[in-house]
C-alpha cells in the first residue's frame, strides 16, 4: 500500500512537472512557421482529415520545390476536434512558437469567432478560406480577417442563382418554398441573413430547420420536409450530418435532385456511403471540385507521395476536400510570397508582414496555372477593403460514382452581398467601438 501511494504521488508530480515544460519560442526564426489547426478525431473527422492532408501535402510540395523564395516552411499540427475551446488552446499554445505564427486557419466558424477577438492583439492574420464570418470580407473593419475565395453568403447566393437558372429566372422563384436544413451552430446560421434578404426580394418562402449538433438525429426534420414538400432543400451541414441527411432524404423519398448542399456538404465522405442513393445530389463548389486530372495533383504525386512523404492515402489526392485544403494552403503561401515582394525576398515574414501580403494578393490566371491550378481556380485579388478577393462558384452533382460539374461559372451578386457585408460589419464596429481604417493605414 505504501508503494502504491508512492507510485501515485510520483505519477502526479511527473504530470504536473511536465506541464511546466513548454516549448520555448526561438529568438531567431529561419523558417516560416505555419501552425495547422486540424481535426482528425471526433464526429467531424471524416471531413477534417482530407482537408488537413491536402493542406499539409501542399506545404510539403512547396518545400520540395525549394520553399518560398528559398525560405522553407515549418508546420505543426494541433488536434482541435472541432471544439472551440480546444481550438483556442491550440492557438494560444502555437501562436508564439518558432518566431511567431505566420497565420492561422481555424477550419471552424466557431473558433473563427473566438480567435478574431484575439488576433489583432497577437498580430496573427486569420485566414478562413470558404468559412468564417461572412462580414469579415470588409477589410476596412476586419483588418486581420481574410475569408479568401468565398464566404457563406457567396455560397447561398450561388445556390439561389443555380436554382433560378433551373426555374427559368429569379422572378420565377416567387411563391416557391425553399427549406434550409442547417447545423445548429454559428456555421449553420451564417447563410440565414442572406437567404432572408433574398426571400424578401424574390418572394419565396424560407423554411428554417435546425438540426442539433452533431446531426445524427434528423428523422423528425425530414418528416417535416415530407409534410411541407419544399421545392428545394438546402443542406448546411458538416461531418456526419451530411451523410445522415442524404440517407434520411432517401428514406423519406425526397428527390435528391432537389437538394443543394454548401461546399462543406458536397464532398466524397458525405456521399460515398450512400453511393447510388445520393445520385442527383447537388452541391455548390468554391471554384474547385474534385480535380483528379489537375496539374497540382500530378505534382503532389510525383514530388510528395512518390517520395513516401504523403500525409494521407493516395486515393484521397484530388478529392474535393483535399483540393480545398491544398487551395487554402496555396493562398496562405502566396500571401507570404506577396509579403516577401515588399519586405524582402528570401526573408522570414512576421505576422504583420504576412497580413499585408494577404491584403495585396494578385493571383492572375497565369500565376495560378503555373502553380498547377489551371481550370481549377479563377483569378483572385484582394485589397484593403475587400478581403475576399473573388466570388466565383460552380455547381457539381454526384452521379453515383463521382462528382461532375453541372453548371457554368457563377458569380455571386455583389449588388446584394456588398451592402449586407457593409451594414453587418458596421454593426460589429459600433459594438466594439472600432473605426474604419483610414486610407493611410491601408498602405502600411
Amino acid at each position: 500500500m505504501k508503494l502504491r501511494n508512492l507510485a501515485l504521488a510520483a505519477a502526479l508530480v511527473t504530470v504536473g512537472a511536465s506541464s511546466l515544460v513548454t516549448g520555448s519560442a526561438f529568438a531567431q526564426a529561419k523558417e516560416q512557421y505555419f501552425p495547422v489547426l486540424s481535426y482528425r478525431t471526433g464526429p467531424y473527422a471524416p471531413n477534417g482529415v482530407p482537408w488537413a492532408n491536402g493542406y499539409v501535402d501542399y506545404l510539403k510540395l512547396v518545400n520540395a520545390r525549394g520553399g518560398i523564395n528559398g525560405v522553407k516552411i515549418l508546420f505543426e499540427e494541433c488536434e482541435t476536434g472541432y471544439d472551440t475551446a480546444r481550438s483556442v488552446e491550440c492557438y494560444e499554445r502555437l501562436k508564439g512558437k518558432h518566431g511567431g505564427a505566420s497565420l492561422i486557419q481555424p477550419l471552424s466558424t466557431g473558433a473563427t469567432f473566438a480567435i478574431t477577438e484575439k488576433a489583432p492583439t497577437d498580430k496573427v492574420p486569420v485566414v478562413t478560406v470558404g468559412y468564417g464570418r461572412s462580414e469579415s470580407a470588409d477589410g476596412s473593419i476586419f483588418k486581420w480577417n481574410f475569408p479568401l475565395a468565398g464566404t457563406y453568403w457567396v455560397a447561398s447566393d450561388a445556390i439561389l442563382q443555380a436554382i433560378a437558372t433551373k426555374e427559368g429566372g429569379l422572378d420565377k422563384l416567387k411563391g416557391k418554398k425553399i427549406a434550409l436544413v442547417y447545423h445548429d451552430s454559428p456555421f449553420g446560421k451564417e447563410p440565414i441573413a442572406l437567404l432572408q434578404e433574398r426571400s424578401k426580394m424574390h418572394g419565396f418562402e424560407l423554411q428554417l430547420l435546425p438540426v442539433a449538433a452533431p446531426g445524427v438525429e434528423q428523422k423528425a426534420t425530414w418528416l417535416q420536409i415530407r409534410q411541407s414538400r419544399p421545392d428545394y432543400t438546402l443542406l448546411w451541414g458538416w461531418g456526419v450530418m451530411n451523410s445522415t441527411a442524404i440517407k434520411e432524404a432517401q428514406a423519406t423519398g425526397y428527390p435528391r435532385e432537389k437538394m443543394y448542399g454548401v461546399w462543406w456538404a458536397g464532398a466524397e465522405p458525405d456521399v460515398k456511403d450512400v453511393a447510388e442513393g445520393a445520385k442527383g445530389y447537388n452541391a455548390v463548389t468554391m471554384q474547385h471540385g474534385a480535380e483528379p486530372q489537375s496539374k497540382l495533383v500530378k505534382d503532389v504525386m510525383t514530388m510528395v507521395h512518390d517520395k513516401g512523404q504523403g500525409t494521407g492515402p493516395k486515393e484521397e489526392v484530388g478529392q474535393v476536400l483535399y483540393m480545398r485544403g491544398a487551395m487554402s494552403a496555396m493562398l496562405a503561401v502566396e500571401g507570404v510570397r506577396a509579403a516577401q515582394e515588399r519586405f524582402g525576398k528570401g526573408k522570414v515574414m512576421t505576422g504583420e508582414q504576412v497580413r499585408w501580403g494577404l491584403e495585396n494578393l494578385n493571383l492572375t490566371q497565369a500565376k495560378l496555372d503555373a502553380l498547377g491550378f489551371a481550370g481549377v481556380m479563377r483569378p483572385i485579388s484582394t485589397s484593403c477593403v475587400d478581403h475576399m478577393g473573388a466570388a466565383w462558384a460552380r455547381i457539381h452533382t454526384w452521379d453515383g460514382k463521382a462528382w461532375k460539374f453541372t453548371s457554368d461559372w457563377l458569380q455571386a451578386d455583389e449588388q446584394i452581398i456588398k451592402p449586407l457585408v457593409k451594414s453587418t460589419a458596421a454593426k460589429y464596429a459600433a459594438e466594439k467601438k472600432l473605426t474604419a481604417r483610414t486610407p493611410a493605414d491601408c498602405q502600411s
Binding site: 478574431t116 477577438e117 466594439k432
Partner: protein, 358 residues
C-alpha cells in the same frame, strides 16, 4: 515533530471554531496565498497563465460549486454545464445591456440568474433520488443548450449566436493581460472558497451532509429536506454561475453555446470525484488534475514515444489521450475511491506522526 498541535490551547469558543485551528495550518495557507499572489506572477510565463493557471482557477471554482451539491449534499448533478452557461449569458446580458454596469456586479447578477435556474431544475430533487436525479439534471443541460441557440434575445440577436466581450476593467484597472486576469480570478476564487468553507462548516453545511448520508433520518430529526436540498442547489448554482461567467469573460473572450456542452458537465463531475467528494481541498486537486492532464499528455507523449522511435500523428495522440484519461480515471477510483483529498489527509496524518512510525 513539525505538524503538532502541542501547546496550542484555545481560550475562547471563537478561537476554537476558526477555520484553521492549528497554527502550522494557518502558516501554510498564508504561505500558499503569498506564493499564489506574489511569487507565481513573478515566475510564470504568459503561456502558463493563459493555458494552465487561469483555466485551473476558474475550473476549481466551478468544481467547488459542484462539490457542494454532489459531495456535501449528495445530489448527483450532470447539469453543471447548464449552470455555467446561464451564469455566463446572464452576466453577458447585464454587462452589455446596462452600459455603465461594472464587471463585478455583472458577475454577481449572472450568478443570481444561475441560482434561479438551479433552483428551478433542482425542484425534481425533492421527489427523485440517486441515479434518476442524475439523469433528470441532464434535462437542464440540454434545455440550456437549446435555449441559448434558439432564443435570440439572450445573444443580443446576433445572427450567428456567437457573443464576445472586451474591455473588462475592475475599479479602473483593465483586465487585459494574462497577469491581471490571473490575479482577478485568484481573488474571486479565494473569496468564494472562504464563503464555501464557512458555509459547509456551519449549520447549513451540516444539514447538507445529513441529507447526503441518510435523508429519511435527517427528515425525522427535523431537517427540512426541501430547504436543505434547494439551498444546496442555490448556493452551488451561484458559485458555478460565477465560474461560468468568469470562464466566458476572462478565459474564452468570445463563446458560443457549445462551449458549455454536456462534456463540460462530465468534466466537472470528474474533477469532483477524482479530487474527493465532500472536500473543499479536493475541488482544487481535481481541477488541477483534469486541467493539466490533457496538456501534459499532449506535450509528454510525443517525447516519450520519440524515445522509443515511434512517431505518432495528432489523431493518435488524441486517441491515446482518451485512453490514458479513461484508464487513469478507472485506476484512480480503484486505488483511492475517496479521491486526491484523501491522499492529502493521509499525508497530513503521516506528517503528524513524523518522524515516528506510529
Amino acid at each position: 515533530m513539525l505538524y503538532r498541535e502541542n501547546g496550542q490551547f484555545k481560550t475562547s469558543y471563537r478561537a476554537d471554531q476558526q477555520i484553521f485551528p492549528i497554527s502550522q495550518d494557518r502558516l501554510a495557507i498564508l504561505l500558499i496565498l503569498a506564493c499564489a499572489f506574489i511569487v507565481v506572477p513573478g515566475l510564470a510565463s504568459d503561456y502558463l497563465f493563459r493555458a494552465i493557471l487561469i483555466p485551473f482557477l476558474i475550473m476549481s471554482l466551478a468544481a467547488l460549486g459542484v462539490n457542494i451539491l454532489v459531495g456535501y449534499c449528495g445530489q448527483i448533478s450532470l447539469g453543471s454545464g447548464a449552470f455555467m452557461a446561464v451564469g455566463a449569458y446572464g452576466a453577458y446580458n447585464f454587462f452589455v445591456r446596462l452600459p455603465g454596469l461594472p464587471l463585478i456586479p455583472a458577475l454577481i447578477l449572472g450568478g443570481l440568474c444561475a441560482t434561479f435556474f438551479g433552483i428551478l431544475f433542482g425542484l425534481p430533487s425533492l421527489r427523485v433520488k440517486g441515479l434518476y436525479l442524475a439523469v433528470t439534471t441532464l434535462a437542464a443541460q440540454f434545455f440550456s443548450d437549446w435555449m441559448f441557440l434558439r432564443i435570440k434575445w439572450f445573444t443580443l440577436d446576433t445572427p450567428s449566436g456567437s457573443v464576445s466581450v472586451s474591455g473588462l476593467q475592475v475599479f479602473g484597472l483593465p483586465i487585459e493581460s494574462a497577469l491581471s486576469k490571473y490575479l482577478f480570478c485568484l481573488s474571486v476564487l479565494v473569496l468564494m472558497a472562504l464563503l464555501a468553507k464557512n458555509l459547509v462548516r456551519g449549520a447549513i453545511g451540516r444539514e447538507w451532509m445529513a441529507i447526503r448520508d441518510m435523508d429519511v433520518a435527517a427528515a425525522v430529526i427535523g431537517i427540512r429536506p426541501m430547504y436543505a436540498k434547494l439551498s444546496a442547489f442555490a448556493v452551488s448554482s451561484f458559485i458555478i454561475g460565477v465560474a461560468g461567467a468568469l470562464w466566458a469573460f476572462v478565459y474564452l473572450g468570445a463563446w458560443e453555446p457549445a462551449a458549455f456542452s454536456v462534456d463540460q458537465s462530465f468534466r466537472l463531475l470528474f474533477m469532483v470525484i477524482i479530487g474527493g467528494m465532500g472536500s473543499i481541498m479536493g475541488s482544487f486537486f481535481g481541477a488541477a488534475f483534469i486541467v493539466v492532464l490533457p496538456i501534459a499528455l499532449n506535450l509528454f507523449l510525443p517525447v516519450l514515444l520519440g524515445l522509443f522511435g515511434i512517431s505518432i500523428s495528432t489523431a493518435g495522440i488524441s486517441h491515446a489521450e482518451l485512453m490514458i484519461f479513461g484508464g487513469l480515471i478507472v485506476w484512480f477510483l480503484i486505488v483511492e475511491p475517496h479521491g486526491l483529498a484523501k491522499l492529502w489527509s493521509i499525508g497530513k496524518q503521516k506528517l503528524r506522526l513524523w518522524p515516528f512510525p506510529h
